[in-house]
Symmetry: C2
Subunit: 143 residues, 2 copies
DNA sequence: ATGCAAATGAGAACGATTATCATTTGCATC
DNA sequence: GATGCAAATGATAATCGTTCTCATTTGCAT
């Protein structure tokens, strides 16, 4: 493993266990930024690490609750997670290859807040998912 | 049944069958604007109409493909459908009661298009889901 | 080293959705 | 209106992502 950071676990009130360190490390290595539970599970197996699928699900949920990861529900029915680096951003998902690109636009953000509060809601969270076709060069593999 | 409109089915290349008319009519009556497959199934049963759950799923999918309905994937894992009236809008989903409110803001829309095209993507579709707590009065039942 | 609450892992269970397939239906043709 | 057949239906099994259960293992404070 690269450089696991148990402090992150501790500060999140989570015991520093082997499976948790492995999962955290996988995200920190950053080979894939957006991963589903199964992606994580398979990658760990491929890396020769042994973990239970149930544990992967548990750990991902805990990490998301603790704020270490962010959970996204894109179309397709499965949750996708990414490292929470504190900077909110929205996502563009390529309909051809599934590639996920991130973007942030403060004009959209402020406008959102205003519109929603004008309607009398207390905004908790939001997700803006753009589904698009990316350019050929960015889209090598079709799904 | 109120006023089913078989023309809509025909123009969508769908045979005008009883289950399809029942489902379409349910949406057109507009008692509930946003319904999941199970919502539709239960409401039809409650109305004394007999349909198979599998058929409801099939019909909803076909209607969404045909453009009669729009499918939404909110958090919570189940698809929700609404009548497609041609006017795009975004959604606020109450985290307490599941109530769905619609809104449209042209500033957000235009800004979205610009940001995405600047990144070299051809936007196909998008979904903006705001998760919020609605005011007590609007939120009678907790889920 | 010891003890125990917390975490794990294997597998069962679950909820939403889709697939299978024998039966029924819409509808064009006689 | 009767007939035929492809398309649609409905009951059920199957699938998929995810959560639950519970016996076993582990982290960590003593």
């Amino acid at each position: 493993m690269d450089t696991p950071q148990p402090e992150h676990l501790k500060s999140a009130g989570l015991k520093s266990t082997l499976p948790r360190l492995k999962v955290l490390d996988l995200f920190q290595r950053g080979q894939e930024r957006h991963m589903s539970a199964e992606d994580v599970y398979k990658q760990l197996l491929a890396d020769g690490e042994s973990v239970g699928l149930a544990t992967v699900y548990r750990v991902l949920t805990q990490f998301a609750q603790a704020g270490l990861l962010v959970r996204h529900n894109f179309e397709g029915g499965k949750s996708v997670f990414e490292l929470n680096e504190g900077t909110h951003h929205d996502h563009i998902v390529c309909l051809q290859c599934g590639h996920v690109e991130e973007f942030y636009d403060s004009a959209i953000e402020t406008r959102q807040k205003k519109v929603v509060s004008d309607l009398g809601f207390a905004i908790q969270d939001h997700s803006l998912h753009i589904y698009a076709d990316c350019t050929k060069t960015k889209c090598p593999n079709r799904r």
